[in-house]
Amino acid sequence: MVRIIVAALMTASLAMSSVWAADPIRVGAYLPMTGNVAAYGQMGWSGITVAREMKPTVLGRPVELKLVDTKSDKVESANAVSRLIEREKVIALIGEMISGNTIAGSDHAERRGIPMVSPTATNPIVTQNKKYIFRVCFIDYDQGRVAAKLAREKLKANTAALIYDISQDYCVGLASFFKKEFLQEGGKIVAETMFKSGDRDFTPQLSSIQAAKPDIIYAPIYYTECALIARQAREMGLDVPILSGDGVQAPELLALGGDAVNDVYFTAHFHKAMIETDLGRQFLARFEKETGKPLDAFSAMGADAYFLLVDAIERAGSPDPAKIRNALVNTKDFPGVTGKISLKEDGNPIKAMVINQVKDGQFEYVTTIHP
């Protein structure tokens, strides 16, 4: 009896899977589901899966998503891409969430001619000299520039102090672009301090910043460190505004930072208050219903990477990677969740940027800037 049931179940599942296996279009996702930036990967993945539910087929065929965890690590990212392309035979890739891992993963995709769309890898190098690598986010040149303008014009800062993570390419790049622009705009950098991922005590760095009496602190870092830095700064009575980048927009910033992160400003990809497309409104409703969580920037960006890719496959009219690549380059005013996206030949989008602020333990929308 048991054997019959098992046999029946197996046949059923085989039949089921063969319906689904009716030539699915395989898209690979390589994301940091564990490790020090796991929050980005988990948020991005929930955005991608909800987006897939909203648009499960393309060219009349189901889209099959294959996820590989990169553990927030570069070697694992390179391995993941090679595995997805050669073992899983994916025809396009989504990932990674941070720049270093995307750079590590992109080499192989480029060589094999598989198009890749990164949701949030912002370092300029990511798409440099690459034909097949794209992203749906702004790049750090622009982010640093906008932050410097914001500091000079809105926050009226004449002097700034820098604190950043010396072991993260994202942080080092953003700090240097900000510095360049801030100096050009007539500002002065009065202190420049660093730390390394894993450090938890920032008191001496903050003390030297306090002694330099800056008008603002620019801290282009990830959420955990930003929360701890804000706490330690406020505790020692260092009350100047903190300006940061897109990396801090995670619930952990609010949970770990508590009251101390109030009034942290940051340049960001997205705030749900700025949604202006139909797709954005539908996605917002669906996402919040399914996950029971407020829509965050990384989920929205993950969804946009998926929507944009599926749209390009549709326009390419075939699952041929080279054709998808050409369709991606010709993306014009795609109405994504986070706004209208056009891709340039260099793989980077033309896109608006958002300024957010932490207020009463919430991310609040301040303004949108078109760089």
Binding site: T34, D199, R200
Partner: protein, 295 residues
């Protein structure tokens, strides 16, 4: 550099030094008795932080009870690790136990990763420890005062145990010659278990205070403090309890002062401990308070 700035840095340095010292005492005791670098010591700090976190947040216990439970559970974990992983290797080449210690360390970190996930949790701060005191332009966090007194108290307790009690005498004897002491009728295994409990309790106390000071609890939080505390133990003279505390103080103050005075070097901060280690090995391998060459 004015006086209040310097005093401020000393306050910060002492706080950090207390942490290093507290963790280093546990390291040095286990090393002193067993000649084993217990690589998992830093991870006990992480485990205790999770215990306390779960007690307060999930089981909604008052923090006093959670803290006590966390200390007790970490002590038990210390015994279990010794029984399960180190005791069977007591008569094997030392390299075996060292490799096992690294295995335990990785096991604890990754078990934590599997069970609770990698995203950092916010550790609650009881109001008793919150706030700051301001004296003449110097900010002293209330927690720092607590950390200082608790470290001093625990150090005094450990020194009393090691110097004045029977079990302490047995510990000192074991560190000199394990086999002979066994022949003299001392139950070596019980004394070693006790050493592990004591070391784990110190790690747990350090873990909870560390998490209140730097409230991001995650599976790899114990690695860096563990490594630095070991350097502190070598600096003070490995095997010497008071030396470990002193080494911790020196390392903490050195790290803070160098970064505060030379902020452009702040990127090199984590290399300071290593440079100190090399200098000690070259000039005084016994450490500041060490009496005999460990072999």
């Amino acid at each position: 550099m004015d006086i209040s700035f310097a005093t401020q840095q000393l306050v910060f340095g002492f706080t950090l030094g207390c942490f290093y010292g507290l963790i280093a005492i546990g390291y040095t005791m286990v090393y002193g008795v067993l000649r084993l670098i217990n690589f998992a010591h830093g991870d006990l700090l992480m485990v205790s932080a999770y215990f306390a976190f779960f007690g307060i947040i999930i089981f909604e216990l008052p923090w006093q009870i959670s803290f006590l439970l966390a200390v007790a559970l970490t002590g038990v974990l210390g015994i279990l690790i010794d029984r399960g992983a180190y005791r069977p290797l007591r008569h094997s080449p030392r390299i075996s136990a060292l490799i096992t210690a690294i295995g335990i360390s990785f096991l604890l970190e990754n078990l934590a990763l599997v069970i609770v996930g990698g995203r950092p949790k916010s550790f609650p701060l009881p109001s008793l420890f919150g706030g700051v005191i301001k004296i003449a332009g110097v900010t002293i966090p209330v927690l720092s005062v607590w950390v200082f007194f608790i470290t001093a108290l625990l150090l005094a307790a450990v020194m009393y145990i090691v110097r004045r009690t029977r079990v302490g005498m047995a510990m000192r004897a074991l560190s000199l010659d394990m086999e002979t002491v066994g022949l003299m009728g001392v139950d070596a295994n019980r004394v070693i278990s006790f050493t592990f409990v004591l070391g784990s309790v110190l790690a747990a106390a350090g873990g909870m205070m560390w998490s209140m000071k730097y409230p991001a609890v995650e599976p790899f939080m114990g690695v860096l403090p563990g490594l630095k505390a070991f350097v502190a133990a070598v600096l003070g003279g490995i095997g010497n309890v008071a030396g470990a505390a002193l080494g911790g103080f020196i390392l903490g103050v050195a790290e803070i002062l160098i970064v505060a005075v030379k902020p452009e070097w702040s990127g090199y901060r984590d290399a300071i401990a290593f440079c100190i280690l090399i200098v000690i090995l070259l000039t005084r391998p016994r450490g500041i308070m060490g009496e005999e060459l460990p072999d």
